[in-house]
Amino acid sequence: MRNATRLLGGPLGAIVLAFFLAAIAMLIAGVSPVDGFWALFVGALGGRQQIAETLVQTTALLFPALGITLAFRAGLFNIGAEGQLVIGGLAAGALGAHFVAPGPLAVVVLLAAGFIGGGIWGGIAGWLRARFNANEIISTLMLNFVALSLASYLVSGPLKSAQAAGAETAPLPPQSWLPVLIPDTRLSIALLIAIATAIVLRWVLSRTVFGYDLRAAGEAPEAARRGGVNMPRMTWLALSLSGAIAGLGGAALVTGVLHRFNTQLSPGYGYTAIAVALVGDLNPLWVCVAAFGFGILEAGGLAMQALADVPKDAIHVIEGLIIIVLAARRYIATRAEGAPI
């Protein structure tokens, strides 16, 4: 178990620092931090609509953050959650535009398509690492851009909807939408699926043999190898599952929020999710809390811009600084060995 001191010294310290930096960003913009933070919190939590929107952002960040958590715990640097999320969304959108099934079956099939799509995308990096010893940092990063190019090509060509003006797939029929959680908002039960995923991930990591092997592979690869863990298989599995969870998030965005696929699906959730996973100390349940915190930032940022005249991009500066501060080596301590490019 990771102890409380570590949490205080790491993630909580980073959050305090983030608020301090946010205050500075507001002062530079000539806004009193009191007004700025007030606008941020009113914008994120000031009413039913605002809370729902914050939870929509929370959900969008939680899936890729859980995928990243799984990979990092296995000692694998998956910085390709963005691409895996896009491929998952693409799979759900492409299938969902034409797929009709009775009852809740349609949604289940589309979510499964996203899970498999993201899993394949993560699995490519896993296969390259397991088979050719190709560094997963570079391959997952490169695959992000391949995913975006592929999606962009498909929705402006073969998969483009004849009705839509922009480059996007045809809309999903309403029976393929995820049920709404709070009426008249964009919040769907995707939030509950994300939280359930976190609980399952926590159980798998802490209570199963597979989870034990996965953590062993991350924390002491040489010991794991000698202890009989099939390392190439573990690498491949961990990156596939990591991508699958991110892909599920893409499918949840398509079936729960957009109801179609286009390349504006993610404004960089897969990168912000790295910060979410690190702030959550790579512990699935704390990652849920961290995702809510970042959801407040994402949703409140726009209100801060509108009400207090602080450019919303300040939020991304803060997120980036949290990443830099939190990326201390102890978090991903054992990557060095056996990880050539």
């Binding site: 190709a134 490169m142 962009s152």
Partner: protein, 289 residues
């Protein structure tokens, strides 16, 4: 001159222009990785260089000062990554990702604050025809980096840092200091590449103008097998594909432009999988010391 040869002339010219910013950033990637630090933050350093160059050119009216400021901004970001990755023991990959977020966010934030118009800056004085000097300078830089890395004691030490920092330490040298210097130079080169984009090719800064060139440069480093000339050649190969899209647009009925944008990344994937001859990264590349 017939249509065919003018088309080729356009293609060659455009290839040179489109390759230049990638070459600068890729050379930055080479020196950083040869010292043992993977510079994921090249994209952010290009953004920093591009934006700062526009601000300083706008304030002073002198694009050369803008250019120097852009190089300086890249160097500062490189210094931040270099110090984080060495003395502060921060993981270099995650820190580089953070630099990209910070640079993109800060440029957009400052764009709104300084010019009160999100999206793009107003027009500033650009380098004009002087940007051809920068095109030529890219190749001079490649040659210089080659000489520095392979012919000077300092270059030998930097390469040793990337292979076996312990041995550098045992030779009574400071591998961390060498890495910080290498990553700062890397940032300066990426900043120069960014400044070329904003006040060389055009005369404004706009959000997203680097368009992933920092990552293409990272791909070029790998495809070019971590050598200055290799990375330069790979950058030109990728620049050629960018130029080809411009030339073909409007000339052919339908062009899978989006699919062509994936070429650099797929090339890098093929290269790291070792499918095009043996590829060997510096032994301690990405490994903290």
């Amino acid at each position: 001159m017939n249509a065919g040869s003018s088309l080729i002339a356009t293609l060659v010219t455009l290839t040179l222009i489109k390759s230049t910013p990638i070459i600068y950033a890729a050379l930055g990637g080479v020196i950083s990785e040869r010292s043992g630090v993977i510079n994921i933050g090249l994209e952010g350093m290009m953004i920093g260089g591009a934006f700062t160059a526009v601000v300083f050119s706008g304030v002073t009216g002198n694009p050369v000062i803008g250019l120097l400021a852009g190089i300086g901004a890249g160097a500062v970001l490189g210094l931040v990554l270099g110090l984080a990755a060495t003395i502060f023991k921060v993981d270099q990959i995650v820190a580089g990702t953070g630099i990209n977020l910070v640079a993109a966010g800060a440029a957009a934030y400052a764009l709104t604050l300084i010019y009160n118009q999100p999206g793009a800056s107003p027009q500033v004085n650009a380098l004009g025809n002087g940007f051809w000097v920068l095109v030529a300078l890219a190749f001079v830089c490649a040659m210089l980096l080659h000489v520095v890395l392979y012919e000077t004691p300092w270059g030998l030490r930097v390469r040793a840092c990337g292979e076996n920092p312990r041995a550098v330490h045992d030779a009574a040298l400071n591998p961390l200091r060498l890495r910080v210097a290498a990553v700062a130079i890397s940032g300066a080169l990426a900043g120069l590449g960014g400044a070329f984009l904003s006040i060389g090719e055009v005369n404004i800064f706009s959000d997203g103008m680097t368009a992933g060139r920092g990552f293409i440069a990272l791909a070029a480093v790998i495809f070019g097998r971590w050598t200055p000339w290799g990375a330069t050649g790979a950058s030109m190969f990728f620049g050629f594909f960018e130029a080809l899209q411009y030339v073909l647009q409007g000339r052919v009925g339908w062009l899978p432009a989006d699919a062509m944008q994936a070429v650099p990344y797929i090339a890098a994937l093929i290269a790291i999988a070792g499918l095009v001859g043996k590829v060997r990264a510096p032994a301690a590349d990405g490994v903290p010391y």
